[in-house]
Amino acid sequence: MKYAYFPGCSLHSTAREYDRSAKEVALALGIELAEIPDWICCGATPAHITMQLLSIALPVKNLLLAKKMEACEVVTCCAACFNRLKTANKFMKQRGEEQLKIEKILGEPYRGEVEVRHFLDVLVNVFGSKNLETRVIKRLKGLKVASYYGCLLNRLKDVTGLDDEEEPRMIDDLMEVLGAEAVKWPYKTECCGASFSLTKTDVVLKLSGDILQMAYDEGAQAIVVACPMCQSNLDIRQAMVNKKYKKNFNMPIIYFTQLVALALGVEMKKLGFEKHMVDPRPLLKEKEIIFSKA
Amino acid sequence: MKIGVFICHCGTNISATVDVEKVAQVTSKLAKVHFSTTYLYMCSNPGQELIKKAIKEKGLDRIVVCSCSPSLHEKTFRKCAEEAGINPYLVEIANIREHCSWVHRDKKEATLKAIDIVRLAVAKVSRDKPLVKTYVPIEKRVLIIGGGISGIQSAIDIAFAKYPVTIVERESSIGGRMARFDKTFPTLDCAACILTPKMVTVSQSQYVTIYTCSEIEEVSGHVGDFKVKIRKRARSVDINKCTGCGACYAKCPVKVSAKFDMNLGLRKAIYVPFPQAVPNVPVIDRQNCLWFSAKNASGGTKKACGLCKKICNFGAIDYDMQDEIIEEKFGAIIVATGFTQFDHSVYGEYGYGKYKDVVTGLHFERMASSSGPTGGKIIRPSDGKEARDVVFIQCVGSRDEQKGVPYCSRICCMYTAKHALLLKEHNKDAQAYVFYIDIRAAGKNYEEFVKKVQDEYGAIYLRGRVSRIFEKGGKIIVRGADTLSGAQIEIKADLVVLATGLIARPETVKLAQMLHIPYDQNRLFTEAHPKLAPVETVTSGIFLTGACQSPKDIPDSVATASAASVKALGLLLQDKLEKEPLIAKVDRNLCSGCRACVVACPFNAIDMKEIEDRALKCKRDVAEVVEGVCTGCGNCTVVCRMSAIDIEGFSNRQIMEEIEAL
């Protein structure tokens, strides 16, 4: 299995541990992730808010780079990048004036030949959860997690085609394969405020606070995410939530890849837990998933 | 006497506020009560089986069921008792739900009251007598009042079953409101195209008699034997001689505005209201006819017109024709008198009906009709110019407790959507604006239709009532609101179409009193049960169909028409009519023959009969009840000072026993 790998800006900055753990998982499972050379930002939300053509052109540029690698599939871990790449790819599969404009902008033809996958998809559907189960060395017994998908991973259905829009189960199922317990909770796809982290911090605090509260109420010990933006909003802003709403959350926000890696027996040190604002290690120790010597 | 008392929990409807077990325990100790028990749902099959079993095993000979109102399950339990071998009239219902558990909260008080209610019922049942149902013959003919789509459909259905049926129609042609419509929602087939064949069917059926220009004068009798007086107003044209050639109205020199066309066009003084009229026989409008006005003005000396009479080759014109009273008997009556439009002139804010360019939906129908007064053009009645910006206002008169009626007229949303569509079809440049409160499009393909009108025909829907309409510079200024955006809206319209509500015809009260059927506060006829007997009335043998009962569209009218026909046919198919035996009975020994009951009976159900009195050795008069006619109202029993006349089922002994038990 060989994939062109598009990490996206976050995975090279705020979400390095996501990048690292995803690569560890790939390594452990024999999935080859070849990073697209000189990839550029997908444009994220500001692009499609500001200039529609740009918001297509930037992702397509990356897909073109991937095409040059002779990869037919691009894998990304970031839900937002995934969404943008998927959207652009879908857009380019249609033919019309707009598509011609894009080709004009990029100076190259592109008709959506490259497929875009999320790493979660690769893990669960391509590698297969059954196969994965046989590779689990350390079961994450006793760990109660809330799987948080965020808004962009599964929306819109005809764009991402990943999982159910309202009641996704991919992460939940994955967690159960790993031996953890996925709690039932209603906020799987609620919005955390995402791109307003800087501009409307108050809003993000409220939305993220609500999500944390719900996860806490439903008995989760940690929240598992598949999106660097969700992670940063919930993790980095957690202290501010606590301060503003007088709460005492100490809820680790863990990437699913980190947990998969742990279960596959990857050394804890390689997974960047120390980068979390809310340190997940005490919890993992308590559940005897990692040990203090580490 | 062994009385059984059966107390229903009705789930928790009764048992939540009435301690049913206590009621059972206390009532079991009442004199004559042999057995008392409770059950979760007495009306359910197992509940009824329980009663039957108890009757057989405990040898009960009369029963009291303590449950809901007798109007709901009295019949159920009577049948149940009958099946267990007890006369069905030895059953009484103690209403401990509607009259007790549902209106009281305190469990102790409610329980005490329930016990009292049961005691009353036990007292009454102890004086019940076994009764046998009676039978009366049936006149196998149906009267239909009203010749609109409902009446026509009913007549077709009844004629199909080969029973004679008579339609009485007030206008000179059948067809009713539907004959005025252009197209029908949601399929947009033309009203005339689907109505005319039906009109022809009834007119050609050997089983159907049509009385046009006719009204009901008097109704007496009862189910199976209604005696009806029908007034046939003078048409001035002999229906048998006229061939419908039309020469008369071609020649007639008088032109007056046509009511059928909502006064948008003209007609002659002798006229057929519309080309497809059935019967296709003209009628003379005596108010406007020159012959009649000359005759009335100068006592007949002035030279009168008489053109139509001269031109008619068949001698069908008869100026001397008089009103005729026909008396006929019918077994069943179907009321299909339809509706009338709400009169929007009560709305000062909409111009008190004074603005010519503020019209009603029916005006729009006539304008949209290609055979109508404008030849299918949507015009401004004020100057005849084609209308471009047309504002439609829904709920005019409907859902307005202040000036209109409280109910939803049900069809306005749909016909307004249809109008908006027709507008665009008649004039590509026109724009429809629809002010609405809610869009109620609950029918097959209705919602899709409304959406089509919005999506494909570009009708702009604005959510809000219009507050004011006024004329300015040849335009109609409409001031409304759109509550969805929170904006006030002003539209300079060419034409405003008011979706006026459907209301009861003014003469319904008179008719209701003639027929002894109830009507509601909106003067709409009341059905026997809103859900379970929607086309029946409380007066047996009289059925309802169409908009006289509540606003209905064509599909619903046709459906209720067929439903009413089936009910009427079901009646006619019986050899004899079963009648409740709860009627008056005379004790000849006590009767003095004073005739008070004869005078007081609202139904003339009591005659005097001479009998030979052996004791007094002379002949004397006594009262005698005509069983088929008596309805069991009991008025006679009270005017009878000697209580010689009594009502079975509500006898003096039963009631006095109840009072004793109070």
Binding site: - | G632, C633, N635, E658
Partner: protein, 149 residues
């Protein structure tokens, strides 16, 4: 001589007296109106005992007399509004009859509050509740009938 039941009532009511009211209801309007009060869960005082009759025209003045003499503290007759009678006229007769009786009762020293009449249609569940509430209030003011005799 007093009916044994009334004697018993007399004793039982000595302490906490609650009026007992007999109500004659026509089957078609008022009984249905009272049913409607039930289906709409409108609460009213439990003092009323309903006797169902086909029509208000079925109420014999002797029934009313019997109620009052047997210890009912009040009597109510309820029927259809005029013109709405299921039997078309029954309530007109009742109206005439009880206009006389009511006056006679007053002449003979019976509190007119004890004997009342009301038109309650099948759709007037609310009116039924109002009528009962008012009646119970008035009869509470009038006091027990036996205490007065």
């Amino acid at each position: 001589m007093i009916n044994p039941r009334t004697q018993e009532l007399k004793n039982s009511r000595a302490e906490s007296w609650e009026p007992k009211i007999a109500a004659f209801l026509c089957n078609w309007c008022s009984y249905a109106g009272a049913d409607l009060a039930g289906t709409s869960r409108r609460e009213y005082p439990p003092n009323i005992r309903i006797i169902r009759l086909p029509c208000s025209g079925r109420v014999n003045p002797l029934f009313v007399l019997k109620c009052l003499m047997d210890g009912a503290d009040g009597v109510l007759i309820a029927g259809c509004h005029t013109g709405d009678c299921h039997y078309s006229e029954g309530n007109y007769y009742a109206r005439r009859r009880f206009a006389i009786l009511k006056k006679l009762f007053e002449f003979l020293g019976i509190d007119p509050r004890r004997f009342q009449m009301a038109w309650v249609s099948a759709s007037e569940g609310d009116k039924w509740v109002k009528v009962v509430k008012e009646l119970v209030e008035e009869i509470k003011k009038a006091g027990p009938i036996l205490a007065k005799s």
